[in-house]
């Protein structure tokens, strides 16, 4: 028993769960995305604690780097919905809470029922192979990035190729879905135009197009 490891684990668990709760409860969606980054970093720290260094780096790069930036961009491109006075959650959010709590109440007792079995199995698994005579003690060799690379190029070669095709398809699909033809592109309002619109009490984005035309004709 190592009290430092337990303490670090508890701190990481509180960080991850706490920021996870903030993600789903905070009203402002941008704050929610920032808490999501904190949660991802907590998960990466947990990977480090479990000696999966490569996965921790991947987690930081892909999740805390790419995914969260993508989410932030999506939020900023759709900003009109995040104004004040807009309901953030469904009216019957307590049903979702009940479902989540019920699931938690089913999973956790089941886990703890099997706890002792896993404890024994994990003790057996932590014993490395017997040391070969004449060499240093072998001990437990936890799989590293080298072994992951070897199994990607060997045992898991077909899934590896399939996933690369999936990523290519997602790339092309995302471009096709989000692409807009130039002629259909909506004109972006300048700050002056937005202020002029606000002065006239037009805040609804649906009216913006017509309002801009009206403004233009007025100026002309």
């Amino acid at each position: 028993m190592n009290p430092i490891a337990i303490g670090v684990f508890i701190v990481i668990a509180l960080l991850t769960l706490g920021s996870g709760i903030m993600v789903v409860t905070v009203r402002n969606i941008i704050h929610s995305a920032l808490w999501l980054i904190a949660s991802f970093i907590g998960v990466a720290a947990l990977y480090l604690l479990m000696e999966a260094e490569f996965l921790a780096v991947v987690q930081i790069l892909v999740y805390a780097g790419a995914v969260s930036i993508l989410v932030l961009f999506a939020i900023m491109l759709t900003r009109q919905v995040t104004g004040e006075g807009v309901r953030v959650v469904f009216e019957r959010w307590w049903v979702a809470l009940l479902i989540a709590l019920g699931l938690f109440g089913v999973i956790v007792p089941t886990l703890w029922q099997h706890g002792s079995t896993w404890e024994e199995a994990s003790k057996l698994a932590q014993v490395g192979p017997a040391p070969v005579e004449g060499t240093a003690a072998a001990g437990l060799q936890v799989a590293t990035a080298t072994e992951i690379g070897r199994s990607f190029m060997g045992e898991y070669l077909l899934p590896f190729e399939v996933i690369s095709i999936l990523l290519l398809m997602a790339l092309i699909g995302a471009i096709v879905i989000a692409y807009e033809e130039r002629t259909r592109r909506r004109r972006v309002l300048t700050l002056a135009e937005e202020l002029a619109l606000k002065k006239r009490g037009i805040v609804e984005p649906r009216d913006a197009e017509g309002a801009v035309v009206a403004l233009d004709s007025e100026q002309a």
Binding site: P3, A5, I6, F9, A13, T16, L17, G20, I21, V24, I29, S32, L36, S39, V43, L46, L49, M50, E51, A52, F54, L55, Q59, Y63, V67, L70, V71, T78, V81, T82, V86, V88, V89, F90, W93, I99, A100, L101, L103, F104, I107, V108, L111, W112, G115, W118, S122, A125, Q126, L140, Q141, I148, S151, Y156, I163, L167, A170, G173, A178, R206
Partner: protein, 105 residues
Amino acid sequence: MVGSVPLVWVLTLAAGLFCIGLFGALSRRNIVGMLMGIELMLNSVNINLVAFWRYLQPTGTAGLVFAIFTIAVAAAEVAVGLAMVIAIYRARLTINADEIDTLKG
């Protein structure tokens, strides 16, 4: 870590994160908020995979490889999902799940 923290603790943490993500995915009205809840759920599954790998089969690579596959699929899902969010916003000027009900009978 392995000698001091039991496997069940890690799995309980993952279960908690999964349920938080589930609550977020079910309760948010903003589609981006729903996607964030789904991300949390996928992360908790990854924690489970890595924990089982480290505690029960540390010399193999199956758990790590599966976790990397999950991350790749999640990245693809987020890219396509957010592209759809932007396309929906462009067409309907809203990403509120209540108001996108064309397919509702």
